[in-house]
């Protein structure tokens, strides 16, 4: 028996129906995703959580238009996704920053069609938003991992997309920077009201950030459970409800929360 897709609050932005993905060819097909049904509401922050190798990154790449699914479809605002689109920006781990451009150059990368004055204004605004004032002329090599990640987020936001896809964006950062970046992301999300689809393998991260957490099973990835995180921001990480939700997800994945 398959659970009906959990309804997204408000208007549906991203609609994933019957999605399946099989990799391979030479007789050894690997089924990576099966029967994924999911709705993401407009302005919602949804975390896709799963063990490594469960296909969550593949799912995000399909939704982003970088991969074509074997079966099923993704529709955004009712329109089927057929390729990458500047209205929906994919944020990679900090590897996506262009090393040959300065912070300004990176943030303005998607703005070449704007008149110079407007472009400069937009860049300045997002430099401020992600807290990189003073580093406008710096090259990525001169920045820390967290700062590079801010550049990527700013570059994505600068083209004013409706949707952001984040693929384990803070995975390469140290744990302190990661906490700071999560708070920053929530601040930016509240200021800019974007729909965010966030892939992570970090249970705590998903409970701290998401409106809903979509738990994927091990490969082939299916939607195992969808957990609504009914906690207002800012979230108290030692409140009973937070711990309950976190522990229920730990159990769902089959981990005792003890070491």
């Amino acid at each position: 028996m398959k659970a009906a897709p959990a309804p997204a609050p408000g208007r549906v932005k991203v609609e994933i129906r019957g999605l399946a993905m099989t990799f391979g060819g030479d007789g050894r097909d690997v089924r990576v995703l099966e029967d994924i049904d999911l709705d993401v509401g407009d302005g919602e922050l949804v975390c896709v959580l799963g063990p490594s190798g469960c296909g969550k990154s593949t799912l995000l790449n399909i939704v982003g238009g970088f991969l074509a699914p074997t079966a099923g479809a993704v529709r955004i605002d009712g329109e089927e996704v057929r390729g990458p689109d500047p209205r929906r920006i994919f944020v990679f781990q900090e590897r996506g920053v262009f090393p040959w451009l300065t912070v300004e150059g990176n943030i303005g990368f998607g703005l070449s069609k704007l008149p110079p004055g407007q472009r400069a204004e937009r860049i300045a605004h997002y430099v401020r938003l992600v807290g990189l004032t003073g580093f406008e002329r710096a090259y990525p090599q001169e920045l820390s991992g967290g700062m590079k990640q801010r550049v990527e987020v700013a570059r994505a936001l600068a083209v004013n997309p409706d949707v952001l896809y984040l693929d384990e964006p803070f995975g390469a950062l140290d744990s302190i920077t990661r906490l700071v970046m999560r708070a920053e992301l929530l601040r930016i999300w509240e200021a800019e009201k974007k729909t965010i689809l966030f892939v992570t393998h970090d249970i705590e991260e998903s409970v701290q950030l998401a409106d809903r957490v979509v738990v994927l099973s091990a490969r082939p990835g299916r939607v195992q459970r969808i957990v609504t995180i009914d906690l207002p921001h800012p979230r108290d990480l030692s409140s009973r409800r937070y711990l309950e939700l976190r522990d229920s997800i730990f159990e769902e994945i089959g981990l005792a929360h003890k070491i």
């Binding site: 982003g64 970088f66 390729g83 990458p84 689109d85 500047p86 929906r88 920006i89 994919f90 990679f92 590897r95 996506g96 262009f98 090393p99 040959w100 451009l101 990368f109 998607g110 070449s112 090259y139 990525p140 090599q141 001169e142 083209v159």
Partner: protein
């Protein structure tokens, strides 16, 4: 005893940095003088009257300059290198970019490239003479061949190794194929291409000397072989050799400067 180590340490590093700077100039200068002395001593003690000492070479250089040959020969050699090298860039960079981008074309062309690449450009001298006759065109062709492969292969690798993430990001921002090439592929491949350009110029300078010994009657390579053939003027032979070395060194320094300039501007600190 360890009351104030920080000032002591900073003083120590300060003075070490100064000696270091002096060493960089002083030590090579001493080594150079020692080399010249050893050369002169070896020539005098062996009593050779064929091989010149440094003083004779210096006089030879002066003689060439007075005859007005020096500037002309250097200019001819540099012109040939410049022309052949420019042709190699004009062919090698677009072709390398195409082969780096198009995997099928690369698979098809690779055996031919790998077969031609290890053939010394000098082996092409007879072919060049048959095709172009004795003259500038033959030397320029040889330099073109010699510098083509380093440029071609470096560009190919540069384009092929562009990060998939950078390409995906470029596409995500809605770049057209041309914009993607100009704004992602070209800058991404540039560090590799620049290294190829430097290697190619070094090879071109090696080859021009050899080509000039056979295919033309001017230039530094011609000077080496002509000074030997016309009266065993070994002072002029060695003078020409030193000139070739100095110009080769300057070309390499120039290319390193260009590479570092780009490297600095585009933030590639390592490699």
């Amino acid at each position: 005893m360890t009351a104030s180590p920080p000032p002591q340490r900073s003083q120590a590093t300060g003075s070490r940095a100064v000696t270091h700077r002096a060493e960089v100039i002083l030590l090579p200068a001493l080594a150079g003088l020692f080399f010249l002395g050893a050369w002169q001593a070896a020539v005098s003690w062996s009593g050779t009257d064929v091989f010149p000492g440094p003083l004779a070479v210096f006089r030879g250089l002066r003689e060439l300059a007075q005859k007005g040959l020096l500037v002309g020969y250097v200019r001819d050699s540099l012109f040939r290198v410049g022309a052949g090298y420019a042709l190699a860039l004009a062919v090698g960079i677009p072709l390398g970019a195409f082969l780096g981008w198009n995997a099928a074309a690369a698979v098809a062309a690779n055996p031919v490239i790998q077969l031609l690449r290890p053939i010394s450009p000098l082996a092409w001298i007879p072919v060049a003479i048959v095709l172009f006759g004795v003259g500038n065109a033959a030397t320029i062709f040889l330099i073109f061949l010699a510098s083509l492969f380093p440029v071609l292969v470096a560009t190919m690798n540069g384009v092929r190794n562009i990060s998939a993430t950078h390409l995906a990001a470029g596409r995500n921002f809605g770049l057209s194929a041309i914009a993607l090439f100009l704004r992602v592929i070209f800058p991404g491949a540039l560090p590799n291409v620049l290294t190829g350009l430097r290697i190619a110029l070094g090879v071109a300078w090696l080859v021009v000397v050899a080509a000039e010994m056979i295919a033309v009657n001017s230039g530094l390579g011609y000077l080496v072989i002509d000074a030997r053939n016309a009266g065993k003027r070994y002072d002029l032979v060695v003078a020409a050799m030193l000139l070739i070395g100095v110009i080769g060194l300057l070309l390499n320094v120039l290319m390193l400067r260009v590479e570092r300039l780009r490297a600095l501007r585009w933030g590639f600190r390592t490699e």
